[in-house]
């Protein structure tokens, strides 16, 4: 098709009035033909400047109140007014709920992502032929092993008198940052404890227990470190391990 024929379509194209079947080939032509593209650009500029120039006059406050009263006089009476008393607050609540939901949804999805990633790490570790790099039940062996491998130190709890046992540890990576992963066991349930430096992705997470993809989880911050406990053990066991870790010295 010659440029002249495309040009006739330019205005409807820019006005969004062409069907996709027609606008796609024109769009393709515009990407190839600098002359038509320049023409299109000029038309867009004209549209834009008209849009800006066209919104020129503002009504006076008096006219606004006159019109509002005129219209309202016919409508807000009797049953409608009663309905409004109910409907308006109901709408406000609905809108607020919607906004809150959207906000929470975003928060939730960020949180969900963190937990999903950690759950994946946990599962992948247990499925691995060598789940841990340092195999030891002794915290005094495990803790020094991490030295020089991760950029922080941490304390592990004394497990004597509890049902937990330490299986070992490995270096884990969470969003390109290295941290410690410790595997604990209680009654044949494995639990991963992740320790990472606190940062933007995790700092918004509220502390506390949660349930994620059939795992029970717990998270908190301590001395600038973010702890995650995740496993298929009962919430009570997760809590118990959490308390042990929080009180570790």
């Amino acid at each position: 098709m010659a440029c002249e024929e495309w040009r006739g379509e330019l205005d409807p194209y820019l006005d969004g009035e062409l069907a996709p079947a027609e606008s796609a080939p024109l769009g393709a032509h515009l990407r190839r033909c600098p002359v038509c593209a320049a023409d299109a650009l000029e038309r867009v500029q004209l549209k834009r400047s008209l849009q800006r120039a066209g919104m020129r006059y503002e009504p006076s406050a008096e006219l606004r109140s006159k019109i509002t009263k005129m219209v309202a006089a016919r409508s807000t009476s009797g049953i409608v007014r009663q309905w409004r008393l109910v409907l308006v607050p109901a709408l406000v609540v609905l809108v607020a709920a919607f906004l809150l939901n959207a906000y929470l949804g975003r928060e939730r999805s960020a949180r969900q992502r963190v937990y999903s990633e950690l759950a994946d790490l946990h599962v992948a570790t247990l499925a691995s032929a060598t789940p841990v790099d340092v195999v030891s039940t002794d915290r005094h062996t495990v803790k020094p092993w991490f030295q020089g491998k991760i950029p922080f130190t941490f304390n592990l709890p004394e497990l004597t008198g509890s049902e937990f046992s330490l299986m070992g540890g490995r270096v884990a990576y969470f969003e390109q940052v290295s941290g410690a992963q410790l595997i604990y066991q209680i009654r044949k349930h494995e639990i991963s404890v992740f320790i990472f430096p606190e940062r933007a992705e995790t700092s918004g997470l509220p502390s506390g227990a949660a349930n994620s993809e059939s795992f029970n989880t717990e998270t908190w911050t301590q001395n600038g470190l973010r702890y995650f406990v995740i496993g298929d053990a009962s919430p009570a066991d997760i809590q118990a391990l959490t308390r042990l870790l929080q009180n570790a010295t």
């Binding site: 500029q45 008209l50 800006r52 006059y57 009504p59 006219l63 219209v71």
Partner: protein, 180 residues
């Protein structure tokens, strides 16, 4: 039962019509070029629309209906009667094609005031269709309903209106350059 139905109708009229107020006023002012006349026109429009709302058919375009009332009121007003809106009537086809000349990009230099003056100088039929399309962002179908013309005519009139506006702007920019 009828009464409450009427009242509910009135309530929905308020919800539909009041959000259009600012835009309708702007449009009225562009048509009349006079504050007092524009105010009268908007009041008349709302009064007529309120009375006629029962005849407004659900499912048709309310905004186009309101603009049509305003425009018809304008055409029947003092200023409107003096304005010749119906020009040589166009058919849908046969759009002339302009080629882009280098100076066409001059429009980039047109400032807001210049565009406003150019728009103000255009015949009402060009001014109104440009406003409906660019400022009100109406679809061709809505414009057709508002102006009570076929969509083919919307296209050809828009084309000519834009061409006229470009012409005026080009003249002004060139004129400005040569110190006129």
């Amino acid at each position: 039962m009828r009464v409450s139905e009427d009242r509910l109708r009135a309530a929905s009229f308020e919800d539909l019509a009041l959000p259009l107020f600012d835009q309708l006023y702007n449009f009225a002012r562009w048509l009349t070029q006079d504050k007092a006349e524009a105010e009268d026109l908007v009041q008349e429009t709302y009064a007529k629309a309120l009375r006629g709302f029962s005849s407004f058919q659900a499912g048709t375009n309310f905004r186009a209906w309101m603009y049509r009332i305003l425009r018809n009121s304008f055409l029947n007003s003092r200023t409107g009667l003096k304005t010749t809106v119906v020009l040589d009537e166009e058919d849908g086809g046969g759009l002339l094609v302009e080629s882009a000349t280098p100076e066409s990009l001059l429009i980039e230099h047109a400032n807001r005031e210049m565009v406003q003056q150019a728009l103000q100088g255009l015949p009402v039929s060009f001014r109104e269709i440009l406003l409906l399309c660019e400022v009100e962002e109406m679809s061709y179908q809505e414009i057709a309903e508002t102006l009570a013309i076929p969509t083919g005519t919307v296209m050809s009139r828009l084309f000519r209106a834009r061409k006229a506006l470009r012409g005026v702007l080009r003249e002004r920019i060139e004129g400005g350059r040569h110190g006129v």
